[in-house]
Amino acid sequence: MPGSENQALKRELKQLIVSACNKDMVPDDVADDAPLLGETSVLGLDSLDVLQVNVALQQRYGVRIEDGKHARRVMKSINALADFVSP
């Protein structure tokens, strides 16, 4: 099953982002298809957060993100991120 259909994985990813970036919110505040990056998104992650999440993802799932551009594509939404972690 693709990651975007795995509710447990998606919850885990939300938790990972919130805790890696010291966000003052609960995972349920993040919608599956809402944008993660930029000031207008709920999480409001910036370029430094992307790097922080990237290292947390590598440590947890062993996935490898090549560069900043790749990272921004993968972190478009929780659904996109879940599909990347578990295709």
């Binding site: 003052d24 430094l48 922080q52």
Partner: protein
């Protein structure tokens, strides 16, 4: 009127390890303090510093308290001097756990950035909206004294219009990790703190005049000889009250010798409120500036090498 060579302290603030922001709120420590500063950061700064570390929070809160007490906007070209003996020890330790075996080999970006010693001074500058001279500096137990001396020199040379000078150090757990950076006796509390002074050549509204920061040559001296050397460095008008503030590097027998040498001097202490750390002197000076009484004040400190540094300031009578 600006008088040539005279430099004044306009505001002072000391953040104590348990989060006390005023001298009157400080309580003696009974164990190594482990304080979460996130709530206080939001309270004092009006915002959290999500990507920053405890060390940065310490620095930012202390600096803001000082600027708030200034009661006006700081000079736009105010220079910033942050003295620290150890820098961000917690994030440095965290980097080791992550990077070196058996860690994952990867450093969390937030930790790496915060472990860079000058990041705290960056946050302080950004929060204050100042983008002039900005230096983070270190010299063991005299890290604050050296920062203050450099700021005083820069102000006297008219190289900067005003200066915000801080002494910031944090503790870390377990204590054994801290001891690899800074030696403590078993009976010493592993303290932390962030204390700041705002200085300029303008006399109006000043709290005190900063007179000098002096280093005495080290030598093989008995406590009595040392006390004579110190007292000779403290030339003052005979009728002026002298208050001595003893730093953490002062041994009991040295303090006793100095008390014999200068029997009329008042003594003030502060280490019981902040614990031991390299820049505790900043805490002592700022803490006692809050409870000031007129006269000549001198903070006396020694390092493990036997060198002595003195900070002198004068509070005018009413």
């Amino acid at each position: 009127m600006v008088e040539r060579g005279k430099i004044y302290i306009h505001a002072a603030a000391a953040l104590a390890p348990q989060g006390a922001t005023r001298a009157a709120e400080c309580r003696p420590l009974t164990s190594d303090p482990d304080t979460d500063l996130r709530a206080l950061t939001k309270h004092v700064l009006g915002q959290g510093l999500r990507q920053a570390s405890h060390f940065v929070e310490l620095a930012a809160i202390g600096a803001r308290l000082c600027l708030d007490r200034l009661g006006r906007a700081p000079a736009p070209d105010m220079a910033l001097y942050l003295g620290t003996g150890l820098g961000d020890v917690r994030k440095t330790a965290s980097m080791f756990r992550q990077v070196l075996p058996p860690g994952s080999g990867m450093a969390a970006p937030f930790d790496f950035i915060n472990a860079t010693a000058n990041i705290a001074a960056f946050y302080v500058a950004r929060l204050a909206g100042v983008s002039a001279r900005n230096l983070t500096l270190t010299q063991g137990a005299f890290s604050f004294e050296c920062a203050l001396r450099l700021a005083l020199d820069d102000l006297r040379a008219d190289a900067v219009p005003a200066a915000l000078v801080g002494g910031v150090d944090e503790n870390c757990f377990p204590r054994s990790v801290y001891l690899s950076r800074w030696l403590l006796r078993d009976d010493e509390i592993m303290g932390e703190g962030s204390a700041w002074l705002y200085l300029s050549a303008q006399p109006a509204g000043a709290v005190a005049e900063l007179l000098w920061v002096r280093q005495l040559a080290k030598g093989q001296q008995s406590p009595a000889q040392w006390a004579r050397t110190v007292s000779e460095a403290l030339v003052k008008p005979a009728d002026e009250t002298l208050t001595l503030v003893g730093g953490g590097g002062l041994a009991p027998q040295e303090q006793a010798a100095l008390a014999r040498q200068l029997p009329r001097a008042r003594w003030c202490t502060y280490m019981e409120f902040c614990g031991s750390f390299p820049t505790a002197a900043a805490f002592g000076v700022a803490n006692w500036l809050e409870q000031a009484s007129p006269g000549l004040w001198v903070h006396i400190n020694r390092d493990a090498d036997g060198a002595t540094m003195l900070i002198g300031w004068r509070i005018a009578g009413i």
